[in-house]
């Protein structure tokens, strides 16, 4: 059937992380072309790369709701945006989500900046490109980005952006910054690989 069908699109993903209630699902929903979907991911389902046996042998009842949205681009690329469960006990899912990801948007609330530290640490350790996106609820900006940058202690070249999770244009801006960051790091890796010892 259908030998004339176009090949399946290339699927990419971006992880939207951050503390509980910081606006991750709102961020995904603002830019997704579909109403965000939810699936329950059981621990054993997402244990790729993790020694499942040491987590909970013979148990599959630890589940986390995984929210995701989708953007289809005209040239055969589909981007999925995954909102990570914020609670630390679901950190087991992050390896799976981060694997092969374009990068991560760490959504931060200036009133609870420490809530974003686990996500920042995780993506730094794994070398996953990320941006810190400060969600300005109700247009309130309690800090400027320099203060936030100092508080979260990220590398100077990690983008720190103010945005409004409900505002598609600002979410799009943050997403573009992330893809630029990811592209820049990939190009730098290519240069390093070409000039490094063989």
């Amino acid at each position: 059937m259908a030998s004339d069908r176009a090949p399946a699109p290339i699927a990419l993903k971006v992880v939207v992380a951050g503390g509980f209630g910081v606006g991750k699902t709102t961020t995904v929903g603002s830019i997704s072309e579909i109403e965000p979907l939810t699936t329950d991911a059981a621990m054993t389902d997402v244990g790729v790369g993790v020694d499942v046996a040491t987590l909970t042998p013979d148990k599959v009842d630890t589940t986390a709701a995984l929210d995701f949205g989708r953007i289809t681009f005209p040239d055969g690329i589909v981007l999925y945006l995954f909102g990570t469960p914020g609670q630390e006990r679901f950190a087991f899912m992050w390896d799976e989500l981060a694997r092969g990801a374009v990068g991560a948007i760490v959504v931060a609330d200036t009133r609870r900046l420490a809530d974003s530290f686990p996500a920042i640490d995780f993506f730094e350790d794994l070398g996953v490109p990320f941006v810190v996106a400060v969600n300005c609820f109700d247009g309130r900006v309690l800090h400027d980005t320099a203060d936030v940058r100092e508080a979260v202690a990220v590398d100077p070249d990690v983008p720190v952006e103010l945005f409004d999770a409900r505002d598609r244009a600002t979410v799009k801006h943050v997403l573009a910054i992330l893809v630029e960051r990811s592209l820049g790091l990939a190009r730098a890796d290519l240069v390093a690989a070409a000039s490094g010892p063989t």
Partner: protein, 118 residues
């Protein structure tokens, strides 16, 4: 003994686990975002409804995670079943991010152009 399950019930959780023989990991190691397309509907008559549902859904491309969400099946079960059906040539799975740097760069360039055009 015929299971006491109404024929119109949605693909649930118990039967797929039986279907997969308890396997929760697929040899194909399919990423969540990988997009699945039905190549040919050559399922055997009497094939399990879960398999039928996946093949019918993927007449239009759907990712692993979308299949799980829409059909209300566990991700691990979807991976195993899709892996089996791919091996049989009934489904095909599209590409995800390449680990080859210059391919990754080319795809990211296309993505950036796409995001800017949103």
């Amino acid at each position: 003994m015929i299971p006491e399950q109404p024929p119109e019930s949605r693909p649930g959780l118990t039967r797929p686990y039986v279907l997969t023989g308890g396997r929760t990991r697929s040899a194909a190691d399919l990423p969540l975002e990988a997009i699945v397309v039905t190549e040919r509907d050559s399922l055997a008559i009497g094939a399990a409804p879960e398999l039928r549902a996946i093949v019918e859904l993927c007449a239009a491309p759907h990712s692993i995670v979308e299949i799980a969400a829409i059909l209300e099946m566990h991700l691990g079960v979807v991976r195993v079943l899709v892996g089996d059906l791919t091996g049989d040539g009934i489904l095909s799975v599209g590409a995800t991010a390449s680990t080859v740097l210059d391919e990754r760069i080319r795809v990211l360039e296309r993505l950036l152009e796409g995001v800017r055009g949103l």
